[in-house]
Every structure is written in C-alpha cells, then in structure tokens.
C-alpha cells in the first residue's frame, strides 16, 4: 500500500512528491467549490450580523 512514493533513491528520476498524484483535477474541483461556498456563507453571515447590529442600534436609541 502506498499513496505515492516508497523510496527516495535516485532523486533525479523523482517527479511529484505529494500523495495521490493523478487526482489533481478532483482536488481542483473541491478547492473551487470550497472557495465559492465560502463567499456565499460570508455574504449570508455578514447580512445576519448587520441585522443584529441594526437591532442593537435601535435598542440604544440610535437612528
């Protein structure tokens, strides 16, 4: 069982060092999805926080 390399002998012939070489496209799809999801989450999170801030401001009598 090996996720990548089993020997560092002959380093001149070694290319990639990371495990699961060959799955780069899948990793890219996951990475892009996480990036887009983060933006969507942040937009919603910030909107909810603003609603909370507006309530606090009104409670404090600030308009």
């Amino acid at each position: 069982m090996s996720t990548g390399l089993e020997s560092f002998a002959n380093p001149a012939y070694i290319g990639v060092l990371y495990p699961f070489a060959g799955s780069e496209v899948i990793m890219l799809v996951v990475g892009v999805a996480l990036w887009v999801i983060w933006h969507i989450w942040e937009i919603g999170f910030e909107a909810r926080e603003h609603d909370k801030a507006i309530r606090r401001a009104r409670e404090a009598g600030i308009k």
Binding site: P11, A12, I14, G15, V16, L17, Y18, A21, E24, V25, L28, G31, V32, W35, W38, H39, E42, I43, E46, E49, H50, K52, A53, I54, R56, A57, R58, A60, I62, K63
Partner: protein, 466 residues
C-alpha cells in the same frame, strides 16, 4: 541542473525569490497596521478582518486561475496572437504537476508566491481607501477581481518580456508603477465613486472634514513596514542571475529586470533610496511637515520613479519623486474637494496618480532604450524599434500604457463591478451599522456609544445622517 553553475543558479534563484516573498509579506503587515491606525475604535476589528481575509481569498484564486492568466494572456489574447500555449503556461494550470511539490521544478512555487504578494498588494491598496463603510463581502469579491484577474492580466500585457504591450508598444514599467500601483489606484477610485464618502465626511457646503484617527503611531509603523517590504518588492521584480551575453563561448551573469533586460541590484538600491528620499522631502515640504503626507510622500516618491528605476541615475530618481509627490498632493486635494471622494488613506493619489505619472515620465526619459528582446520578427513594434530590431521604449507607448493600466484595466472594470455589487446591496454597510460602528454586533466592548462615550466627530456624523 546539468552543470555546477546551472545547479547553483537554480538553487540561488529558488532561495532569492523565497526571501522576497518573506520580505513582501511585511507590506501586508504594514497595510493592516496602517488601516487599523486610521480607523476609529468602533470599526477596528472590521477593518482588520477585511484586509486580512483578502490574503486567503486572493491566494486560492491566484492558485486556481491567476497564475495561468499571467502566461496565457501575454498576447492579449488576439492582439499579438492567440492564447499562449507553451511550457510555462502548461506548468501554471492548477492541475499541473508543477503546481505542487516536484523534485524537478524548484522555481514555480516561489515565483508564484512572489507574484501572489503583488496580487495581495493590489487588493490591499483598495482596502485602505474604503474603510469604515464598505461591506467585507463586496470588498473580498473586488479583491479577487483585482488580485487574481485584472492586475495579472496587465502584468501579462506589460510586465512580461513577451507581453503584447512590451512587444508592440515598447511599454516599460520595471518596478510596477502602472502595473501594480496605477491599476490599484484606478480600481480604488472607481470603487470610491460608487461607494460614496463616510457619513459626515463632507460638510453640507462640500468642505472636507478631518476624521480623527485612533492611532497615528500605528500608521507610522505601518508605513515604515511598507517601506521595508518594498525592498522585497523591488528584488522580486528582478530575475537574480542570468547569462545576459548570450554568446556560446562566454557567459556574463547579472540580474535582469522582469523584461530580461540588464540591470543590477546595486542600481535599484541606489534609486530606491534616492526616490524614497526625494518623496519624503517633497511630502514634508508640500504638506508643511504633516506626518501622514510626509510618509505617504516617501512611498509615492518610490512609486513615481519605479517605472524606470532599473536605469535612472539616482538624482533623476530623486527629482522625479519630488515633482511627482508635489503633483500628486495637489491633485489629491483638488479631486477630494471637487468630486467629494473620501479616500481614507490617500490610495488613489499615492498609488494611482503617482504610478501613472511614473509610467509617463519613464517613456520620455528612457526613450530609445530596448524594451525587451523581440519574440516575433524584429522591427515590428508600432512606435519604433532599436537598430537591432528590439521594441524601443517611447513616450507614446508608455502614455497609452498608463491609460490602459489606470483606466482600461483599473477604473472601468472596477466601476462596473462596484455598480453590480451595489445593486445587490453588497458594497456598503447599512447606514445604521455605519453610525453605530461596524464592530458593534460582534465586539460590543470597544463600541463607544453603548458605553456612553462620545467624540466630536461622532456627533457630527449622527447629525449629518439625519
């Protein structure tokens, strides 16, 4: 690495760019300190997190597509050829073997990271100008837009030996006056035009009001750190060690600028310091000793001379910096009064006007110098070539280039994006949030109103809001 000198060159280049990355990270530390220092207590955490979070978002997007754009778009595309397809482009796609740890490629990662630091700088320049009323959500989209799309396209066009602006127009901008600062300043102004000023920033008759900063010393240290990081910025604009002679029977190793044209680290060190000195002197003089504008003058002085600091004489760099800072200072205050632009840190001026001025000046002073080795037939440049057929640096090419950087890739696309974000309510915080403070909801403790504290400007702001 099939020879001793080849091996040493690769390992030195790898380490050289790694060091520049570490140094350039200080620019971001400086920007964060500067912004926080210029922010009132009720908005501190918001300002800090808005700037900090651009780092991860620009990083991942620069990995996903920004780095590929730099190599793929050197021809426009379709201005001087199609989308570029070569070994560099193939190595920059995010599914390439070279975009990860690889025993046969020691350069891609450090070179990518050096460019990434430029990306973060462009986005960070925008961040400071829009503090205390911009939504983090909208800003982070703008940060990705400039950091991983527009600036890297302008770098492909005008900051690459094969870029179409270099090859066809003789565009020269060695240390990124227009490529980084011009586009960032244009983008900033566009966003500010749509965003509008902070409530109360201008009196009803249009007179600008000074908003008190919470920590001038933090601003001072921040700007000093930006100066420090700028050394790394300059070094990263060079290719450290290259055989610039090209003859088979001899070698002549030297640094080159980003266009692979000769310069030395010593040359840019002379000019960095002299343009910094000229900028500080002019900033101090024109602002009559104002610390903010003296420091900003130093930064602006470097930016004004950066386009040609690979080749200028140090005294030329100093004079360009002094003239540029004087012009920028006057222009900033005129724009502020005339158009009610609330640029909290002077970014439009220091980076946008200063960078554009620097590109235009370089076209005149370096007129006739080779811009880069021709990638196509010699003598094809639109505005003149050297006797050897290299595209020649010239005033018209740099003038048009400055407009492309500031306006074509800076102001116009950013204005459209800002309008779209504004239409979706993603650009500006609600007015109640701006009044009570952007930290109120998550960090109530430092919030001044809820603790029955007040300062003069807060009262003005609330009155203006009514």
């Amino acid at each position: 690495m099939d020879s001793d000198i080849g091996g040493l060159t690769v390992i030195f280049t790898e380490f050289y760019f790694w060091v520049t990355v570490v140094m350039m990270f200080l620019i971001h530390v400086g920007f964060c300190m500067y912004e926080v220092g210029a922010t009132r207590p009720k908005n501190l955490q918001h300002t800090l997190m808005k700037n900090t979070m651009l780092i991860p978002l620009v990083t991942v997007t620069f990995y996903f597509f920004g780095w590929w754009l730099y190599f793929a778009f050197i021809n426009g595309p379709w201005i001087n050829g199609p989308i570029q397809e070569d070994a560099f482009t193939a190595a920059a796609v995010p599914w390439s073997d070279n975009m990860g740890p690889h025993m046969q490629d020691r350069i891609n990662g450090v070179f990518w990271a050096a460019f990434l630091m430029f990306s973060c700088t462009t986005a960070s320049i925008v961040s400071g100008a829009i503090i205390e009323r911009a939504r983090t959500a909208g800003f982070l989209i703008i940060a990705v837009f400039i950091g991983s799309i527009t600036w890297i396209i302008d770098a492909a066009w005008g900051w690459s030996p094969g870029g179409w602006m270099v090859q066809l127009m003789g565009y020269h901008d060695a240390y990124a006056s227009g490529v980084v600062h011009g586009i960032a300043g244009g983008t900033t102004l566009a966003v500010l035009c749509v965003l509008g000023p902070r409530i109360g920033r201008f009196a009803p008759d249009g007179t600008p009001r000074t908003i008190p900063v919470q920590n001038p010393w933090l601003i001072t240290i921040g700007l000093f750190l930006i100066f420090t990081g700028f050394w790394g910025f300059y070094a990263a604009c060079n290719i450290p060690i290259l055989d610039i002679d090209g003859a088979e029977d001899k070698i002549f190793m030297s640094a080159t600028n980003i266009y692979l044209m000769p310069t030395t680290l010593s040359a840019i060190t002379f000019n960095f310091m002299m343009s910094l000195a000229g900028g500080l002197m002019a900033g101090y003089m024109v602002s009559k000793g104002d610390p903010f504008w003296s420091y900003s003058g130093g930064l602006c002085g470097i930016i004004c001379a950066s386009a040609g600091n690979d080749l200028y004489h140090p005294i030329q760099a100093m004079i360009i910096a002094m003239v540029g800072v004087w012009l920028v200072y006057k222009l900033h205050h005129w724009v502020e009064r005339r158009f009610k632009i609330d640029d909290a840190v002077g970014a439009c001026a220091v980076h946008g006007y200063g960078g554009t001025f620097g590109v235009i000046v370089a076209g005149f002073l370096l007129w006739g110098y080779p811009a880069a080795a021709p990638t196509g037939d010699p003598g094809m440049a639109w505005f003149g070539s050297t006797p050897e057929g290299y595209p020649a640096i010239n005033p018209l090419g740099n003038f048009i280039g400055a407009i492309i950087m500031w306006g074509g890739l800076g102001f116009i696309p950013a204005y459209i994006l800002a309008k779209v974000l504004d239409a979706f309510g993603l650009l500006r915080v609600p007015r109640e949030v701006e009044i009570v403070g952007l930290d109120t909801h998550t960090y109530p403790e430092p919030f001044p109103y809820l603790q029955m504290r007040d300062v003069d400007f807060e009262r003005i702001q609330r009155e203006s809001a009514r």
